[in-house]
């Protein structure tokens, strides 16, 4: 299916990160799939991967060529240097970063990238910080979002204070990713150590709100307008809390929340609101992810292709806000064993690049 309404110029080369299509997937493959819906085969996809076992590297129907890029901890200078070298070979038109943890660096070098002809469509550092987990309470009170109570854990002793304030069960969340529900101090300590080792400090303890999990995928134009807002109810949730199946739902309150978010921060780029609806119908904002969700292809399937709209705006086109989407459109994720010859793995591991096309 090609959604070619207002089809963009052909022949684009777009760099995409987040090729880790595993059980806690990055959004890269869903973004690429959305772009292919809009552009067909005229778009060249350059994968940007951190690790040689990111499945997207080897998916030749999705990614034309993949380059390894340095981890965010290496800093923005290392990232820029690598991207400049990739750009010399590929003449990238645009990069769509899809990881929370890499956004800081990408925003930092966005000006340099623009200078060499690579467009991005990203929020500012201030916007990024405003929706950060550790600032979500302030964000909620300032902009009228209901946010669960939370407490920051900078060391193991902070757990008892948090538990006293919020009571068990608690949701213990990593600085960037992952969350677990815990019912006692021992479990909280274990998760604290796990998540702080993985994602750094602070770890966040959040009040547990029982209810229905709903996510909203959105795209802001940077002027306060929401170009697209699509709400999805999770139908099947993995042990990592990820939606393995979901369905678009009709709820003007949810659409308004997405619009309210864009208006509050003048958000530029993709985003995801993670919400919990309690039995009284109250909507709690649990988290704001500063990029497209891994289920973003559902937005394309429901009639609002958010990655394609982002590309158009990044290229300077005017995009009017979408007003309609199909409700009752479902996604059901599945796993797939991609068979890969060792030579491809070796090629990427040794040289940091792999083409899926005959060159």
């Amino acid at each position: 299916m090609h959604n070619n309404t207002n089809a963009p110029a052909p022949g684009l080369t777009i760099g995409v990160t987040g090729l880790n299509a595993h059980d806690n997937p990055g959004p890269g493959i869903a973004v690429i799939r959305s772009l292919k819906d809009a552009y067909g085969e005229s778009v060249k996809i350059i994968g940007l991967a951190y690790e040689s076992l990111e499945p997207g590297i080897y998916m030749d129907g999705m990614v034309d060529k993949t380059y390894q890029i340095p981890y965010p901890s290496a800093g923005s200078a290392a990232l820029l240097e690598r991207l400049e070298s990739i750009h010399e070979k590929e003449q990238l038109d645009l990069i769509i970063p899809n990881f929370d943890s890499e956004l800081y660096n990408f925003i930092r070098i966005a000006g340099h990238l623009a200078g060499i002809g690579i467009k991005t469509f990203l929020p500012t550092h201030a916007q990024l910080a405003a929706r950060d987990k550790i600032n979500l309470g302030n964000f909620g009170s300032k902009h009228n979002f209901k946010v669960p109570e939370f407490s920051l854990l900078n060391n193991i002793n902070d757990i008892s204070n948090a538990a006293e304030q919020l009571n068990y069960p608690l949701v213990i969340k990593g600085r960037f990713y992952e969350a677990q529900i815990v019912n006692n101090t021992e479990a909280a300590k274990k998760v604290f150590y796990e998540l702080s080792a993985k994602w750094g400090l602070p770890v966040i303890a959040q009040e547990y709100i029982p209810g229905t999990e709903i996510n909203v995928a959105g795209l802001g134009d940077g002027s306060g307008k929401a170009i697209s807002v699509v709400p999805m109810r999770k139908l099947y949730i993995t042990d990592k809390g990820k939606a393995w199946a979901g369905i678009t739902i009709e709820d003007t309150e949810l659409v308004q929340l997405g619009q309210q978010f864009c208006s509050a921060l003048h958000w530029k780029g993709g985003f995801e609101l993670e919400l919990m609806k309690d039995s009284a119908g109250n909507l709690y904002l649990l988290e704001v992810n500063p990029r497209f969700p891994a289920w973003v292809y559902l937005t394309a399937a429901a009639g609002q292709n958010q990655p394609a709209a982002l590309v158009k705006m990044a290229l300077g086109e005017q995009v009017e806000p979408h007003t309609q989407y199909t409700t009752g459109k479902m996604f059901i994720r599945y796993s797939w064993d991609e068979i890969v010859d060792i030579s491809k793995f070796q090629q990427f591991s040794a040289f940091g690049e792999l083409s899926n096309k005959n060159e």
Binding site: T212, R233, L235, G246, I247, T248, I249, E250, D251, T327, G328
Partner: protein, 80 residues
């Protein structure tokens, strides 16, 4: 009793609430009753039709009707 206007009921008895994403399966009898209610028949009209069509005692129908009502309420398919 009024079923929410946005609720979709298929001929096969599949019920979908687009506001919540919930879906349900109704048996042929319940699906027929829901379709009649959705098109505007009153509860009394629906019950009368069932009594004429099927060999069922009024008190049994009344009991099953109340049961259906409770299920529809619990499933959030009725207008408040």
């Amino acid at each position: 009793m009024k079923i929410k206007s946005n609720i979709a009921i298929s001929e096969t008895g599949f019920i979908f609430n687009p506001a919540t994403g919930d879906s349900f399966s109704a048996n042929a009898m319940a699906a027929g009753m829901l379709a009649a209610i959705k098109k505007g028949d009153t509860a009394e009209q629906v019950k009368q039709e069932i009594l004429q069509k099927y060999d069922v005692k009024p008190e049994t129908l009344e009991h099953d009707w109340e049961d259906l009502l409770l299920q529809l309420k619990a499933a959030n398919l009725l207008d408040a």
